[in-house]
Amino acid sequence: MRAAFVRTLVELAERDPRILLLTADLGYMALEPFSDKFPDRFFNVGVAEQNMVGLATGLAEAGFIPFVYSIVTFAALRSYEFIRNGPILHQYPVRIVGMGGGLEYGHNGASHHGLEDIGVMRVQPGITVIAPADHQQTRTALSASWDLPGPIYYRLGKDDKTTVPGLEGRFELGRAQIIREGTDLLIITMGSVASEAALAADALAAKGISSMVAVIASINPAPVNDLAAILTRFQVALTVEAHYVVGGVGSLVSEVIAERGLRCRIVRCGIRATPNGVSGSQGYLHRMHGISCEMLVNTALQVLHEIKR
């Protein structure tokens, strides 16, 4: 997603001189295609995320479209109040790019795990929130949204190889993407962990369980009508996200179920506990938090067993 983002941004910047890129000293071996091509439109502001967002607010007031880049936690959390009081309250087109959503920076530990960014961004009505599931969707989502009015938060991942089967790069603001049809179980997922959800659906199919899988990349505006339409068809839905279970897609789906009065049980798969200091690879951490393919299959089987009783 990272390379897809930079490549797409370079193409957009060739067409539109308003685009600038600011980084808080991150993006080694990633941002060079932009910085080499547009050295006068690229600023490494140093390790100073608050100032980066403040600068972008001042630049946007004058008509620029600044993209600010850092790791999810630093981009979204360190500078959160500057995002709120700056681009959100002014409604300026600043684009906040958070890299490595969820547990992608596995071995780097809890300071680098982006587990609540969607939650804190989603509560703000004045910001578009987009979390693509793979590099193809990153490209489509960026191309479809970069010049929207108001600010945007992009939660991206580092993986530029994995593709989510059935997604084929589709993205539409305010819509869900169905990547697999099914009848027994609904799986709703967000971000790069969508590939685990898709694998889980394959594994469940091998056991005779038919799963529908929906990818939510447009978090705000949320695909409320799409969600309501599919939730009515199932007794149980699993939400799968590399995010705390509060604030992200699990919360979003719960809101839709409650507000529409739907009769669908939800099982939120995501991070439930405060980090305990244990680190490891993303795969290890996905297993630990129950969002690896195998763990999702186990959870699905258990839930389906429960509702049959």
Binding site: V45, G46, G54, L55, T57
Partner: protein
């Protein structure tokens, strides 16, 4: 556009007192301390052909809690009607304690200290990228220099030699709960800014002529960003408010208002 009146320190102070009394709110002392800086900016320094002109100078009141001083200036410039001014702190008004950019003539909303200089540095960088000679002025409080984010912006502006950025520090020595040297010592203020690579000028913040002349002498096309360390008196012009902590938040009684008004009218 209304009729332009005399954008004087006295007129700004009178409006600060009138509106604070009418609305029965505080933040009077911190607005009085910048009355002369605001008068200098709006009467003689800011180049604003029209509040919507894209190439106007920008002004960020980073110490947003003193917005009433700016509302007074906007009214005296003819950009804010008396009717609108009289809605200060009323239900449904755009004129709150802190400035909102939804109000024409306010370039940036502020209120959270340590935010304004970053936006100002971005605005100054934007002017450079657009090859404009417009300038950006940011007025910060001394206590605001407690905020680490302010120093992030200070470093950025110096590194990029944003000579079109002019910061003014309202050095009145007070903050909400005490005197700055007792809460978090900021001395020596001028040396700190110098050490961060800024062009530093110490001025009498109550002397509009000195402020105007100092800014007129700045090289805004090359060199370093500029800061005026403006030595001010908290509550300036009202004897019982000067250097008194309680007048950060306190509203005036009828008697206090009358005395304050008399003293301001008698100022030279």
């Amino acid at each position: 556009m209304g009729e332009e009146k005399n954008v004087s320190s006295r007129n700004i102070r009178r409006i600060i007192l009138d509106q604070s009394k009418r609305a029965n709110v505080g933040h009077i002392g911190c607005a009085l301390s910048i009355a002369d800086i605001i008068a200098a900016l709006y009467a003689n320094i800011l180049h604003i052909p029209d509040p919507n002109h894209p190439d106007r100078d920008r002004f960020v009141l980073s110490k947003g809690h003193a917005a009433l001083a700016v509302y007074a200036a906007l009214h005296l410039k003819g950009w804010l009607s008396e009717e609108c001014l009289n809605t200060y702190c009323a239900d449904g008004s755009l004129l709150g304690v802190h400035p909102e950019h939804a109000l024409r003539s306010v370039d940036f909303s502020t209120g959270s200290l340590g935010h304004g200089l970053s936006m100002g540095a971005g605005a100054a960088l934007a002017a450079r990228l657009q090859r404009s000679l417009r300038r950006v002025f940011v007025l910060v409080s001394d206590a605001e220099c407690n905020e680490g984010s302010l120093w992030e912006a200070v470093m950025f502006a110096a590194h990029h030699r944003l000579s079109n950025l002019i910061c003014i520090v309202d050095l009145n020595g007070q903050q909400a709960l005490g005197y700055t040297d007792q809460v978090l010592n900021l001395s020596p203020m001028a040396e700190r800014w110098k050490a961060f690579g800024w062009d530093v000028h110490e001025v009498d913040g109550q002397n509009t002529l000195e402020i105007v002349e100092t800014i007129a002498g700045l090289d805004i096309t090359s060199g370093l960003p500029h800061v005026l360390i403006a030595h001010t008196v908290f509550g300036k012009g009202v004897s019982f408010m000067e250097n008194q902590i309680k007048w950060h938040y306190w509203p005036m009684s009828d008697e206090e208002y009358q005395q304050a008004l008399n003293e301001v009218e008698a100022m030279p």
